[in-house]
């Protein structure tokens, strides 16, 4: 919907000089678009007067696939939605399906779930900020600093689940397997070292003059529009709305941890960047508490592998690193879901891309897109 009106532009009319709007198709192989994503941009000089996002290049109809297999079989497919955060995707799906079959999750599994989800959040935010700076023109260095930390966490994932990124670790009623001996200690080491990296990173970036001038006041998103357009996650909180599902829904055992929810004020690119920086510190806090309190015991509840839930409709949602990740399931008494729907935060956060870019410069669209944080595996599904 074209709520934001295009800025007034007057093409120069002069004898012997023909001027017109310039239409550029940015993508699908533009390096800054984080995947195969295209923006049809209309330009008056360097000012953006219209923008249309085009996607679907990675569409594989994940929902249809999942409707033709048993509930558990689509767990590995959820890894491929947002391939940076497979653990969070697993949890969202497990949460929705657990509402259908009502199974008790053991205490140790609940703690490990929180640990995995928060580590995932660190992975996501740290690599997002790396990519964001890449978009800004800081080629390589900040991204590689970020990836160095990310790799330490991915090593932990690999030790626990056998895979760095496609973890497939959660099951209905718990986790696939317990973490290996000594894992908790290694995780604690990584978590304890993480604030050192954050300090360094903040010192390097937060007051950098180029970052300030490129991101402050760019891509402003008002509070009202953010709520109305269903924006979620760090992007919503950067616009000044204190809405975090970990606090609102308190799914899992999030009610046991003490943490704060950072939120911004201006809703520009800098706020979105800072909210993620601050959120990482809070994740570290949660991780410290969770790794401290983790009990011994089983990690898998008494859940059957193949089950036929009674006809019901459920909607389970979690605070994914990118926003509200929801799964809507309709059971009809067969081993397959009748309807399986993913609510992808990346897709819905793109709704306001046009509004944020209009009137800005073409170079800013790249940063604005970077600050939204999309993964095309999830946008296209």
């Amino acid at each position: 919907m074209n709520t934001a009106t295009a800025p007034n532009y007057e093409l120069i009319q002069q004898d012997g000089l023909e001027t017109s709007l310039l239409e550029i198709s940015m993508g699908p192989h533009h390096p800054s678009t984080h995947g195969v994503f295209r923006m049809d941009v209309k330009l008056d000089g360097e000012t953006v007067v219209d923008l249309k996002p085009v996607f679907g290049y990675l569409h594989r109809n994940h929902e249809k696939l999942a409707e033709n297999m048993s509930y558990l079989s689509s767990m590995p497919f959820t890894d491929r939605l947002d391939y940076f955060n497979s653990m969070a995707n697993n949890w969202a799906y497990a949460l929705a399906a657990e509402k259908l079959i009502e199974v008790e999750v053991p205490e140790r599994a609940e703690y490990l779930r929180v640990v995995m989800a928060e580590l995932t959040r660190l992975v996501n935010h740290v690599s997002l900020i790396g990519f964001f700076l890449n978009d800004l023109g800081a080629l390589g260095t900040p991204l590689l600093y970020a990836f160095r930390e990310r790799e330490k966490i991915l090593d932990l994932f690999e030790q626990a689940s056998g895979a760095r990124m496609m973890c497939n670790y959660f099951r209905f009623g718990g986790l696939r397997n317990d973490v290996p001996v000594g894992w908790i200690g290694r995780a604690r080491e990584v978590v304890d070292r993480f604030p050192v990296f954050l300090d360094e990173y903040e010192q390097l970036l937060c007051e950098n003059e180029i970052i300030l001038s490129r991101t402050q006041g760019v891509g402003n998103l008002s509070r009202e529009l953010a709520i109305n357009a269903g924006i979620t996650g760090p992007m919503l909180r950067a616009s000044g709305v204190n809405y975090d599902l970990r606090k609102v829904d308190q799914y899992g055992i999030y009610d046991r941890f003490k943490f704060r929810v950072p939120y911004g004020e201006a809703g520009d690119c800098y706020d979105r960047f800072m909210v993620r920086m601050l959120e990482m510190r809070e994740s570290v806090e949660i991780l410290k508490q969770a790794l401290e309190g983790i009990p011994e015991g089983p990690v898998m509840g008494n859940a059957p592998r193949v089950f036929k839930p009674n006809p019901a409709e459920v909607y389970g949602r979690i605070e994914g690193p990118k926003g509200e990740l929801g799964f809507y399931l309709i059971a009809d008494g067969t081993p397959k879901p009748y309807r399986y729907r993913v609510r992808p935060p990346s897709l819905i956060n793109l709704t306001v891309l046009r509004d944020m870019c209009l009137g800005g410069k073409i170079a800013d669209t790249v940063i604005i897109l970077g600050s939204i944080d999309i993964v095309l595996g999830e946008v296209d599904r």
Binding site: G56, K64, A229, G230, Q250, R317, G326, Y328, Y338, R343
Partner: protein
């Protein structure tokens, strides 16, 4: 935990709506959908300012076997046919009150499905309704920019429908062979 939104006041205010107990959803008549949605968003008792999820559900005509107790007090299995239909489901929350969800459904037929677009009420429906249009073929009246979103523009059919059969090869193009090739070589017909 977020609180469930009570639905009784909506049923009282809008007599056309009804409550689907099994699904836990509010089923609204299509003609009133925008009015009810706007009321739910602006009324202080609800202030459902956030529409989280929009999706379609396709129901084919199907036979349901039910066990009932007949007049003689015996259990009996009765088959009844449920007509086909198409649902468009909205999950509404309130960020202000931190309540929800309220499941809001518009129900329509399968053959020529058409519902009211709620994009003027919640912007978050914009891309999601386009997706429902693309994958289910539901027409949204009043949608500002209704186009295919995930499938390519030339694509025919709606893949999320339950009776969709996929073609042998999506990228099949008639290439000349056999008799057509012969005609082709004679320079008469180009298929």
């Amino acid at each position: 935990m977020s609180h469930i939104v009570s639905h009784e006041p909506i049923l009282m205010k809008f007599p056309g709506t009804n409550w689907d107990e099994e699904a836990g959803a509010l089923v609204v008549p299509t003609a009133q959908a925008v009015a009810i949605a706007t009321w739910l968003r602006d009324n202080d008792a609800f202030s459902l300012d956030y529409c989280s999820n929009v999706t379609g559900v396709d129901y084919l005509e199907r036979e349901i076997k039910e066990k009932i107790t007949n007049k003689e007090g015996k259990m009996e299995t009765v088959a009844r046919t449920e007509p086909s239909r198409m649902d468009v489901v909205y999950h509404l929350y309130s960020m202000q009150k931190q309540t929800g969800p309220l499941v809001f459904k518009q129900r329509t037929n399968r053959e020529q499905p058409e519902v009211e677009s709620l994009t003027p009420v919640w912007r978050s429906c914009e891309l999601q309704e386009r997706e429902v249009f693309d994958l289910f073929g539901v027409n949204f009246k009043g949608h500002p920019d209704q186009r295919r979103i995930l499938m390519w523009d030339e694509f025919e059919g709606h893949p999320m429908r339950k009776d969709y059969t996929e073609p042998f090869d999506y990228e099949w193009e008639p290439t000349p062979h056999d008799e057509i090739l012969e005609k082709h070589q004679r320079g008469k017909v180009i298929v």
